[in-house]
């Protein structure tokens, strides 16, 4: 070896550690911010899957589980967005993809491979994560939830004559009774139960559960506050019609409904004070632990239908890669690996079916048939074809930058709260119109 060649080899060896080959299959580092699951075992199974992928691909992974309590996850996202540094992969709840679109890496390639394999995702996912024709984040199962009604079988039957098990049995069967499950039927049942001293625990506060309920109520009546083009449409006959309906409904809701948060309805169900809430099966899961007799009497079923159709509140979570990530290839590969059918089903099973997969073809997991008591209680938790229902998020189809404000400021439940406090429909519409003008700046 010549002296010149020896020098070249030495220089190349010295420079090697400075070069980072950006490939998922090469050694590298990756940090992920996952949503801290309500169900403790939800984090453990996720960690296990991530560790297995990391070992296989020789990637050093740091997984953080960030709680949504006190909206710490949203604060973390905002901080990382401002600082332009942080995790490589971030879990974006509902509106956060749009809020941070300027710093999220497009992920069309991953999305294409997943949808080619597992079928399409619903229109809410597209509305929330596809910006200017590009997928910025992949809808995930972890944390994604429906918020249809969960009711007490015996009480609804006894007080309101509503046979929820017969209406939505734990098998793929469309029933005539489900066609009769309309918003008017919902009101009549609420009224009957309220007369019996057990009002439906439906909140009119400004937190997510209240917003999701109001959103689905409005949409089922075709009432949009802002249309898809950003025009304020609150002064419409349809909005007036839904408010006329709501004027009756709010009278049979609990007196303290306006101060409900996302835990109030759960407590009302678990304590046996209320026969119906709109919530994912988390309330049932807590009841299973704390009030087994209540849990054994719970049944989750689809939303009532209205003039515009049947809409079930749906809150998806997304996994996206920050554009400042230093290991984008590995990040995308990990996301794709975690959204394969097997790991999705494994995670869904561990959390008793709470997590809803984004892909239609995955809505046949066995867990929803097996969970008990009573057997089949959450069979109708995910939307099934015979439900003839559509997933919906409040304020859709308004442009997301306006919709996020309608959602987070609780405009729709506040309209209902104002009705409950005795304001007229005209006053409520006038207030909402003023608010919406502010959102559309």
């Amino acid at each position: 070896m010549t002296r010149r060649r020896a020098l070249k080899v030495a220089a190349a060896s010295a420079a090697l550690p400075l070069v980072h080959i950006r490939s998922g299959r090469a050694a590298g580092k990756l940090s992920i911010a996952f949503w801290d699951h309500w169900v403790p075992s939800g984090n453990a199974v996720m960690q296990k899957q991530v560790d297995a992928w990391a070992a296989k691909n020789q990637v050093e992974i740091q997984a953080d589980f960030i709680t949504s309590n006190g909206q710490k996850n949203i604060l973390t996202i905002a901080a990382e967005h401002q600082a332009r540094t942080g995790h490589d992969i971030q879990t974006f709840p509902t509106w956060e993809v749009h809020n941070n679109a300027d710093l999220i890496e497009p992920i069309d390639d991953v999305m294409k491979r997943l949808t080619d394999k597992y079928g399409q995702v619903n229109q809410v996912c597209e509305y929330l994560a596809k910006v200017n024709g590009k997928w910025l984040a992949v809808p995930t199962s972890s944390g994604t939830q429906y918020k249809g009604p969960c009711g007490r079988i015996s009480i609804l039957k006894e007080k309101a004559g509503l046979d929820v098990v017969g209406m939505y049995p734990a098998r793929d069967e469309h029933t005539a009774a489900s066609d009769a499950w309309t918003w008017d039927a919902h009101y009549k049942a609420a009224e009957a139960c309220a007369k019996a001293g057990m009002p439906f625990a439906i909140g009119l506060g400004q937190t997510s559960d209240s917003v999701d309920f109001a959103g689905t109520l409005f949409h089922a009546h075709g009432a949009e506050l802002v249309d898809k083009d950003g025009n304020i449409t609150v002064k419409s006959d349809k909005v007036r019609a839904v408010l006329e309906y709501a004027q009756k409904l709010v009278k049979v809701l609990p007196d303290d409904a306006v101060s409900y948060d996302d835990a109030s309805n759960n407590r009302a169900l678990i304590s046996g004070k209320s026969p119906l809430i709109w919530n994912p099966p988390s309330a049932w899961a807590v009841a299973k632990r704390d009030a087994p007799q209540v849990a054994a009497d719970c049944w989750t079923f689809s939303a009532p239908t209205g003039p515009q159709g049947r809409f079930v509140p749906y809150l998806p979570y997304f996994w996206g890669v920050w554009s400042f990530s230093s290991n984008k290839t590995a990040a995308k590969e990990l996301i794709e690996a975690l959204l394969q059918r097997e790991p999705v089903e494994q995670r869904c099973t561990v959390v008793s079916g709470y997590d809803v997969p984004p892909f239609t073809s995955m809505l046949d997991f066995k867990i929803w048939s097996e969970v008990e008591p009573p057997k089949g209680t959450v069979y109708n938790y995910p939307i099934r074809p015979f439900h003839k229902a559509t997933a919906h998020i409040a304020a859709m189809p308004a442009p997301p930058e306006i919709a996020v404000q309608i959602y987070n400021r609780g405009t729709m439940p506040t309209m209902l709260a104002k009705l409950k406090s005795g304001q007229s429909i005209d006053q409520v519409v006038s207030w909402a119109s003023d608010e919406l003008e502010g959102f559309a700046r």
Binding site: T207, D256, A257
Partner: protein, 315 residues
């Protein structure tokens, strides 16, 4: 060097070296230098965590929603036109002023009661009354929230025992406003009490004796001896509390999150809602900066009064 002003180090005369060393020693030995150096870590912390964020907030408040263009005072103008924000200004002022006045009055009464408790017992009572102030605010507010809870309120349970109906503590605007103020008063009163107690203890006993000899009764002693001697402490305490109360976030966030119908929002909680939750950081920054002129105005007059009285006492 080319400009001819520098002197090579090896040609400095020993006398010059001694003179320079003496200058450095004198500089290092100056009290102001020592004081500055000791304060430097704090100054750096304040610069990093107070001054920089404050200027950054001002910068943010002048950007458009997407933070891509400078809009000057546009966000402030926009906010002032919104009905909800007008409600926020009203509630913030109501919350801060009512809370501070109540804390000042209750703290003053408690301090006097405490001052008249003899010896060891005073220490016990003082310790007990300080408890609300030393418990982390978020924790104690959570406890209050449980007591006001919509469905399982402890207060309602007590009312029910006496045959009264439930009160929707956090569900009706004015009652919810009252609840947030009560919790703030409960938390902040011990601070006033301890400050006033310290001030009371520093009033010379001879002044009271002289007033007694002149035939002053208790109320006259209060108005002509105690209050004039405590005025500076009262002013500073009120100012400090006003700043902290105006900036309060925890109590409203935990108890009502701004509801019902936005009636309990204060600047900080509203800023969080529009800035972080709704993704409009410039508007949130503009909202939070509304506190600044109000507090600066209050601070100017309070501190001017304190300075004036200090000069009078010195003269």
């Amino acid at each position: 060097m080319a400009d001819g002003t520098s002197v090579p180090i090896d040609v400095i005369a020993p006398a010059q070296v001694r003179a320079r060393r003496n200058t450095m020693q004198r500089f290092a030995q100056r009290r102001s230098t020592t004081g500055f150096l000791l304060c430097l870590p704090l100054i750096l912390l304040i610069a990093a965590f107070v001054i920089y964020p404050a200027f950054y907030a001002i910068y943010l408040s002048m950007l458009n929603k997407k933070m891509t263009a400078f809009v000057g005072l546009g966000n402030f103008q926009f906010l002032l036109k919104r009905h909800t924000f007008q409600l926020v200004i009203f509630q913030s002022c109501l919350f801060a002023v009512t809370s501070v006045v109540l804390k000042a009055i209750i703290g003053f009464v408690l301090a006097h009661l405490m001052h008249n408790i003899p010896g060891k017992n005073q220490r016990i009572w003082r310790g007990l009354l300080l408890v609300p102030w030393v418990i982390p605010l978020a924790l104690s507010t959570l406890t209050w929230w449980w007591m006001f809870d919509p469905s399982y309120s402890a207060f309602n349970w007590v009312l029910n025992q006496f045959g009264f109906a439930n009160v929707p503590w956090l569900g009706v605007g004015w009652i919810a406003r009252f609840c947030t103020i009560v919790v703030n008063v409960w938390y902040g009163t011990p601070f006033f009490m301890i400050m006033y107690l310290a001030a009371l203890k520093s009033v010379p006993e001879q002044l009271y004796e002289a007033a007694s000899i002149d035939g002053a009764n208790a109320i006259q002693k209060l108005f002509f001896v105690t209050l004039p001697m405590m005025r500076n402490i009262i002013s500073i305490t009120v100012l400090f509390s006003l700043i902290v109360t105006f900036a309060d976030f925890d109590i409203v966030r935990i108890l009502t999150a701004g509801g019902p119908q936005d009636m309990t929002h204060v600047f900080a909680t509203y800023a969080f809602q529009i800035g972080i939750q709704s993704g409009d950081i410039p508007l949130g920054a503009a909202d939070s900066l509304f506190m600044f002129p109000i507090l600066a105005f209050a601070a100017f007059f309070v501190l001017r009064g304190v300075t004036r009285r200090t000069r009078e006492i010195a003269a």
